[in-house]
Symmetry: C2
Subunit: 356 residues, 2 copies
Amino acid sequence: MLDIKFEKTKNPKPIPDENNPLAFGTIFTDHMFIMDYETKKGWHNARVTEYAPLTLDPSAMVFHYGQEMFEGLKAYKAEDGKILLFRPDKNIERANNTNKRICIPQIPKEDFLQAIKAVVAADKGWIPTKPGTSLYIRPFVIATDPYLGVRPSDTYKFIIILSPVGPYYPEGLNPVKIWIEDEYVRAVKGGIGEAKTGGNYVASLASQVKAHDAGYSQVLWLDGVERKYIEEVGAMNIFFKIDGTVVTPMLNGSILPGVTRDSCIALCKNWGLPVEERKISIDEIYEAAQKGTLEEVWGTGTAAVISPVGQLRWKDHIMQINDGGIGELSQKLYDTVTGIQLGKIKDSLNWIEEVE
Amino acid sequence: MLDIKFEKTKNPKPIPDENNPLAFGTIFTDHMFIMDYETKKGWHNARVTEYAPLTLDPSAMVFHYGQEMFEGLKAYKAEDGKILLFRPDKNIERANNTNKRICIPQIPKEDFLQAIKAVVAADKGWIPTKPGTSLYIRPFVIATDPYLGVRPSDTYKFIIILSPVGPYYPEGLNPVKIWIEDEYVRAVKGGIGEAKTGGNYVASLASQVKAHDAGYSQVLWLDGVERKYIEEVGAMNIFFKIDGTVVTPMLNGSILPGVTRDSCIALCKNWGLPVEERKISIDEIYEAAQKGTLEEVWGTGTAAVISPVGQLRWKDHIMQINDGGIGELSQKLYDTVTGIQLGKIKDSLNWIEEVE
Ligand SMILES: Cc1ncc(COP(=O)(O)O)c(C=O)c1O
Ligand SMILES: Cc1ncc(COP(=O)(O)O)c(C=O)c1O
């Protein structure tokens, strides 16, 4: 158990009016959680304090060598007023896998969960309740040694900030258009692709700008070795329904093991659908689209939950999916996942963790 | 021309006593250069101010998405008191290539050079003069939008900090032992390997820790696709002298185009040595070592200048180079490069830029 100090803000900010649409990731709540790390002391000085700027030496390693881990999950307010988290244990496990890959010390999982609950409880008044809204939770760790030279830092800060959010895509649940990238690569086996760390996202920017300029919301990456196998989307894992079978790329070391991905696989299996986690080549997808067996495509991620894909573009080929409409299975997954998250559907898989 | 404001520190720090050995990257001078960027204003508010902590929102994009560029070069004090920079135009060009790859706005090259000169001039008293020491210059840019979501930032800070340094390796010019990595990958073609950005360095940490624990100073990376071709060392490019020919990996998009690398190639060519920039497989190196034609191996980098390699380890194979001694060509390159940098050898290639 952490001994978390609570220093309540003296300057509470106005909570956004729920009648105005919420953007994603622009507004932050009154408090944040912080805890420090030093080699000799371990993690210490856990506190919930006013949301306030960080003061760091310009030589702090995070600014130079990218030693930073982040996570993303959400808190929801159920109709009965309960505050619910969706599978926080999965995010915590993934955070520690990222930490391991990039040489950040482990954070004990009970402490991590306690920290999330403490800061969410402090700002529970900020959880929006309109359909499609929630409180986005961003835990992250940064390397703070004031040192130039490549080695793991000896000091870190673990911080959790909160942001009331609306839909990630302006499209909402409407199908998005996705650009299949064949020039740039996001990650490669043996690299840091399966870790949630800045380096993977910075690598994606140029491609994303190119896709945006061409009218696409996101980029779908191919593998870095053969440039042939489907990996994942910028901030989502990807699923295909081909001829009645649900297919998604296997976890191969270069894609993020998404919590929503895992949940969709479990739900589809529960519903008796055939699910395959395997290598999927872009040619297979293109052929299925040509033959008319590419029934649905959707992305999965905490931010967008389930995001139907209406169009895929690969070089000069445009693949229209499901006439650009929302697929039946995509809709069912969206309704089920959000239903469980909001406490409207029975949590038979034990995915919900309540914040007291 | 930038209009650079100068706010002299009111709290000058003691300059380290030159009689004590200097470490690398732990001490910073009295001042730093800062300039801000906003989409509407472009780069503005250029200033040389007291070296002081940065204050950033916890949601600043650099902490989450790794949008950060850095460079490294050195200033030297010649015997006649002149302050010399070594090929700063190459660093500035590379910085802007990095900026382009990771969607940071370009920094006009004259402004960049002016900024370096301004801050170095402000702290010229900090340039150490003992053999093997210099003033390390670290320009970097960080993304500062307070925003969660993956896109290029609209605001940035460009900062230059200075650190009086001694040798990068505790070994000094003595040959280092290098570990050839066959599990992890640093970068891949189509990725960000040729950019100087944190993501490449964070990817290298786990491997470096492993190598260190086994008694090796640095890691030599193989390519991410075939895991067969030599790429570069953690913070250096790599050269081999095989049977009289100087061989170094070609610039292929996944290695950093080193300024010292470029300088060594130019010098060797000037001396009439055959130089090849090409793909080099690890098998070729291993065979040369077996046959006794692997005459010298050395790394090149701003921090270490020329670093002779005394041993390479690849899986269970240990390759002893030049009986673990400093090779003749490595020594000549070291003497020539440092001689030019210190103004002791005629700068016939026009590499030196004076700070007035
Ligand atoms: C690269 C990437 N892939 C996939 C996902 C989806 O993962 P999750 O469902 O855990 O949010 C995310 C977002 O977290 C991501 O950033
Ligand atoms: C990955 C990497 N390779 C090579 C180098 C050498 O480049 P330069 O000679 O420009 O310092 C460096 C250091 O800057 C580096 O970080």
